[in-house]
Amino acid sequence: MAPEATTPLKALCRDCTRRFRADLTRCPKCGSPRILAHAELDTLEIAHIDCDAFYASVEKRENPELADRPVIVGGGQRGVVSAACYIARIYGVRSAMPMFKALDACPDAVVIKPRMELYSQVGRQIREEMEKLTPLVEPLSIDEAFLDLSGTQKLHGATPAELLVQFVNKIQTELGLSVSVGLAPNKFLAKIASDLDKPRGFSVIGDAEKKEFLAKQPTSVIWGVGKVFQAKLERDGIKTIGQLQLKDPTDLARKYGAMGLRLAKLCQGEDDRHVSSNRGAKSISGETTFNTDVSDVTQLSKSLWALTEKVSYRTKKAEKSGRSVTLKLKTADFKTITRSRMLHDPTQLADKIFRTADDLLHNVADGKMRFRLIGVGIGDLGPADQADPEDLLDEQAEKRAKAERAMDALRGKFKDSSVVSLGRSIKSPSKR
């Protein structure tokens, strides 16, 4: 929030972390105009941290020549924009926009295929830094998380706000990435705050002004209010959160069910969800969209194997195993077909996942039906220690498992490797 220098507010310099009176517009020490001032600055403890144009920023960091050029990260001719840098955004490029539209809007853009391996590695580095601040880090995705900083002041000798400023500067200098921070009394407001003056933003929403602030916002800022629900609310004459604030909670609950109850609380800026660090993944999956629709079962099978290897690789890395295998296909006319199968034992082996998924594939694909997308995932995740017990009947399975583990070991050794399973000429996951 913009600081209002009326009463003696507390202020903090975002560049040198100097504290000073809030009636100044520049830092008395370093002269920076990037100051943070808010009456509740030292009492708010819930933060939402979000990286700015994460994939694109990582790519720019990796290749400084791209610094002043519009960069779009996204896949293939038929893919969508995964991330667009702020220069590309000036031309109107947005996340999730089809690539051809994005290139219409910004023909000079440099398009980069996503390097998920790299992003997740950087994401992990950022997460590690977050975890130095508090154990209560709740990741929402690879590049954003909620932090509960309550009770950390004594430990760090700094208030949450000071700590966050130090964190932002550290990520900027050490990792070369910019992040935006929202600091608020709860998760709902923190998430809204972090989005307020991106990029390199730091916004504070306090208890005092939360209601007044929300009143002006459209209902769509509420998590869970999508296009359809927003349209429904609009039909009922509700466009802003302010209008929601005037409604009786019982009426809202009656009209919109459980969602109505949530709305009644959230519109007042109240959110009692805790920041919880143990939101483990529920499934591990991968999918790919073809450049042209595919009907050939052998070719589908090949793509499936490549995806399976990735899924298996990630499963092993996370020291997990899954008991269900799901195959996902999208037909040329955008119908999604999913088929799942429970396994007898949890697995993390590409061989086992592939055999199951390929069997499912052969039940669906008939060589005629054309597909634009194929995906595979494992679910019902558990620990790795009980996975893949030896099989009485299938001696080959144990051999294949050993071969796979040996290849995994080699891949680990040579990092970017050309270790390829025999007869399945697929690029290794990290090689592009």
């Binding site: 199968r341 429970m342 055999r355 069997d359 017990p389 099989d391 009485l392 009947l393």
Partner: protein
């Protein structure tokens, strides 16, 4: 069609046949049971296209004829009719409904034409023999638990039955396995079973036959071809397709060279395993079995809940070692054992273990150890 019959008789027969009918069907007629009145009998037939059950019961036939009605519905209706009542089944003049009348109750069910009802053409059977209900039940009960549910290895989704000469006469053997445990049970081969093809009887069929076996002394006629099996149990004929696949060479799996023998009181062992596995999650955690002279120690550790330990006295005088088994599999096998004493034959902590009743070769169980 118009028939009158005893509610009890009709209910008994419907109980037998309606189970075959799947609750959800894409083809409407598969939800129906076929009724055919002829001579002094009412014939009931139900199928899921893989399995067919036909039963004939005595009835007073006024007008011969046939129809099909929703199987689960007629079963529920007849079940709720008062005991001892006479039931009249009569199709309407325009063949659109069938009436069920009993006492003051009256139902009209929509029907589908009998000509549309599928027939599981059995073809020629190549082998025919009789077995007692008790014998078949023994084979099924000893092996059923080990049938695999894994669809990818569909050829394990049933019980493999074949006859073989093991030197001391021809045996009839049933085997089921899911890759983690294997169960084998055998009887003296009935006359007529020699040279029969090895067949895989699907799980659902196994379950249905099991429910039709009442009196253990009853002789049951079994007919077999390459693709089908038929059981004739009194007035009931059950015909089923077989699983079209090759059962793995299971004998390779049965350990021959295990040299460490362990004898344990079956009940003491079963109860101890049952107690310690309370700690295990439902996923079937490992029970660690530590063998030493004269005793085994069973341990289950579950990081989410705690641990359990129990000592059981055994006859064992070989080297000390530890081996882990899935607690559920161990319980399944313990439940099958019949003799007072169970005999474990082990090799080492990584190799399959053989379990059987002390002093009997009629059934044996192989168990793959788990890492502990």
């Amino acid at each position: 069609m118009k028939v009158t019959l005893e509610r009890t008789e009709l209910l008994k027969s419907l109980t037998h046949v309606h189970r075959v009918v799947e609750r959800r069907n894409t083809i409407p007629i598969l939800s129906n049971v076929m009724l055919q009145a002829e001579g002094g009998n009412l014939k009931l037939k139900a199928t899921d296209l893989d399995l067919e059950v036909v039963e004939s019961i005595a009835a007073m036939v006024e007008t011969p004829g046939g129809t099909t009605v929703p199987a689960h519905m007629i079963y529920e209706i007849v079940r709720k009719l008062p005991d001892g009542s006479q039931v009249v089944l009569e199709t309407s003049g325009d063949d659109s409904t069938m009436e069920i009348r009993a006492g003051r109750s009256r139902f009209a069910l929509q029907i589908l034409p009998v000509t549309d009802f599928p027939d599981l053409t059995a073809g020629e059977f190549t082998h025919s023999f009789t077995m007692t209900a008790g014998g078949i039940r023994k084979l099924i009960n000893s092996t059923q638990f080990a049938i695999s549910t894994e669809e990818t290895r569909y050829y394990l989704n049933g019980i493999y039955m074949h006859s073989l000469d093991i030197g001391e006469g021809l045996r009839f053997r049933a085997v089921a396995t899911d890759g983690h445990r294997l169960a084998q049970a055998e009887l003296e081969a009935p006359e007529g079973s020699e040279g029969m093809p090895g067949i895989i009887v699907p799980r659902k069929t196994v379950g249905e036959i099991q429910k039709l076996l009442d009196d253990p002394e009853v002789e049951i006629k079994v007919e077999i071809s390459e693709t089908k099996i038929r059981f004739t149990i009194g007035d009931i004929i059950l015909t089923s397709k077989l699983i079209d696949g090759t059962f793995p060479d299971y004998e390779r799996v049965i350990p021959k060279g295990n040299d460490k023998e362990l004898r344990v009181d079956r009940d003491a062992f079963k109860e101890a395993v049952d107690r310690v596995s309370t700690i295990a999650s439902d996923r079937g955690r490992a029970v660690k079995m530590s063998l030493s002279e004269g005793k085994i120690v069973l341990t289950v550790t579950n990081p989410d809940s705690g641990s359990a330990t129990e000592e059981v006295a055994v006859e064992y005088d070989n080297e000390e070692f530890e081996i882990g088994f899935n607690s559920k599999y161990l319980l399944d096998i313990a439940a099958q054992l019949e003799a007072d004493s169970a005999l474990f034959t082990l090799a080492d902590s990584g190799s399959p273990t053989l379990v059987r009743d002390e002093g009997s070769d009629e059934a044996l169980y192989v168990l793959m150890p788990m890492r502990v």
